[in-house]
């Protein structure tokens, strides 16, 4: 229950470990414990858990994390397809998280 994994080997998350300074920002913002610090640098240890929210990429001061961030929502993909835009959340979902 704690670790439900969606489809395997599809996530676009990438990290250029050589340039990582080990600031731990990615660990602080990741909602699924995808990263760990090993030998003072970040490592992606749980790639399949990533939901591509993009928080790590946005908060990496070195800019060494890359992910095709977006909302994993079929409705958004359909809306985007119909409107010819990127998949966008219509925000009918309510997660009640402040």
């Amino acid at each position: 229950m704690d670790t439900i994994i969606y489809l395997k080997n599809v996530v676009t998350l990438q990290l250029d470990r050589e340039k990582c300074t080990g600031c731990r920002m990615c660990i602080a913002v990741c909602p699924h414990e995808v990263f760990e610090i090993i030998e003072k640098k970040a490592v992606i240890t749980n790639q399949d858990r990533c939901m591509e929210c993009g928080a790590c990429m946005r908060n990496c001061p070195e800019g060494v994390i890359n992910v095709n961030a977006g909302v994993g929502c079929a409705t958004a993909v359909i809306n985007g397809f119909l409107k010819g835009t990127k998949p966008e959340c219509s925000c009918s979902c309510e997660k009640n998280i402040p």
Binding site: M25, I27, A28, V29, E52, R58, G72, E94, P98
Partner: protein, 349 residues
């Protein structure tokens, strides 16, 4: 950049900032009206206008050393935060997210770096607190770049816990989140709470399908007969409702227990099981062809609705959803049309 710890003081402030009329006060106690409002929005009532005015608020008796918590101007977000700050003296900085919760708004960018910097300046936060630190909910990180905020406003962003309920533990841990506080979970009660939201979202879809099938049930060898619609209306409604329940209620609630990773496949399986149960109870069609038609249509309804739950679940990625849909949507269309064709054919037997 390191996350600072322990240097924010949360005792009763020694320097009290005069509370002018420009800083509204709020309470950590929710009223009956607040609770009722939360129930209403889950059923879609006033959800798009359930807002609070953006800006700075005071809770308790905050001073220049008190913590600043950032949230969205969706009233449910604001209420959840202040409920969990009850008993503390703190500032609440509300961003203008157009009435949308933190995570969704962060995804859109309205809960974002630019808006946060703008609100810090507009509230003259640097004159109200001396510590230059703001606590942003972790899920806001999707839209906020902490290093950019620091560069443009001078304020250091500390990412707080995912759930406001962990705030007091976060404070006593020296403004640090542990693994538990950072993990997004989606428990059975969470899923149960979202069922009405999905029911309301899918209502037009459901009514549309129902009307279409009811109309088709009037077709026969002798032409279009209204009486035939009445005759089969009850069974038609039960069957469509069963498909709806399978996809929008049973699948999300039982999700971890259903085999396969793809949501559409999970929904199809539950729909198929429901079909078998209905068939065994003589509810699924009046002849073999009609039953076969329903054996296609019901799982398709269930599969489609389940697929749309990918957005509500908190572990689905866009790449994954795209991969799933590339297979699921064509299959759903073909199976759905096959089912409809069989259904119409059965009327002419």
């Amino acid at each position: 950049m390191k996350i600072s710890k322990g240097n924010m003081i949360n005792t009763v402030p020694t320097v009290l900032v005069p509370l002018t009329s420009t800083i509204p006060r709020t309470s950590g106690k929710l009223s009956f009206k607040d609770v009722l409002g939360a129930i209403k929005v889950r059923w879609g009532i006033r959800r798009n206008s359930y807002t609070v005015d953006p800006g700075l608020y005071a809770i308790g008796k905050p001073g220049s050393l008190s913590d600043v918590f950032v949230t969205a101007n969706y009233k449910l977000s604001f209420d959840t935060l202040r409920k969990n700050l009850d008993g503390l003296d703190a500032w609440i900085l509300i961003l203008d997210t157009k009435g949308i919760n933190v995570w969704c708004a962060a995804g859109k960018g309205t809960f974002g770096t630019a808006e946060l910097i703008h609100r810090i300046e507009k509230a003259s936060l640097n004159e109200i607190v001396t510590h230059k630190k703001i606590i942003v909910p972790q899920l806001g990180a999707v839209g906020v770049a902490a290093h950019e905020v620091k560069k443009h406003s001078g304020f250091s962003v500390i990412y707080g816990p995912v759930r406001a309920a962990d705030i007091k533990n976060f404070i006593s841990a020296g403004y640090k989140t542990d693994k538990k506080m950072r993990r997004v979970k989606f428990t059975f009660p969470d899923r149960l709470k979202l069922v009405p939201v999905e029911l309301v979202n899918a209502k037009y879809w459901l009514i549309g399908i129902l009307i279409a099938i009811l109309f088709l049930s009037g077709l026969s060898k002798k032409g279009f007969l209204i009486d035939l619609i009445w005759l089969s209306a009850w069974h038609t409604m039960i069957t469509v409702a069963a498909g709806f329940l399978s996809g929008a209620v049973l699948t999300p609630l039982l999700l971890p227990a259903i085999p396969f990773r793809s949501f559409s496949l999970k929904g199809a399986i539950v729909g198929l099981l429901t079909s078998v149960i209905l068939y065994a109870r003589n509810y699924l069609g009046e002849n073999v062809i009609e039953s076969l038609g329903w054996f296609f249509m019901l799982p398709v309804i269930s599969s489609y609705l389940a697929m749309n739950f990918t957005g509500t679940f908190t572990y689905t990625s866009l790449s994954g959803v795209r991969k799933e849909m590339r297979i699921a949507v064509p299959v759903q269309i073909i199976a759905g049309l096959s089912g409809l064709t069989l259904y119409v054919l059965s009327q002419f037997l």
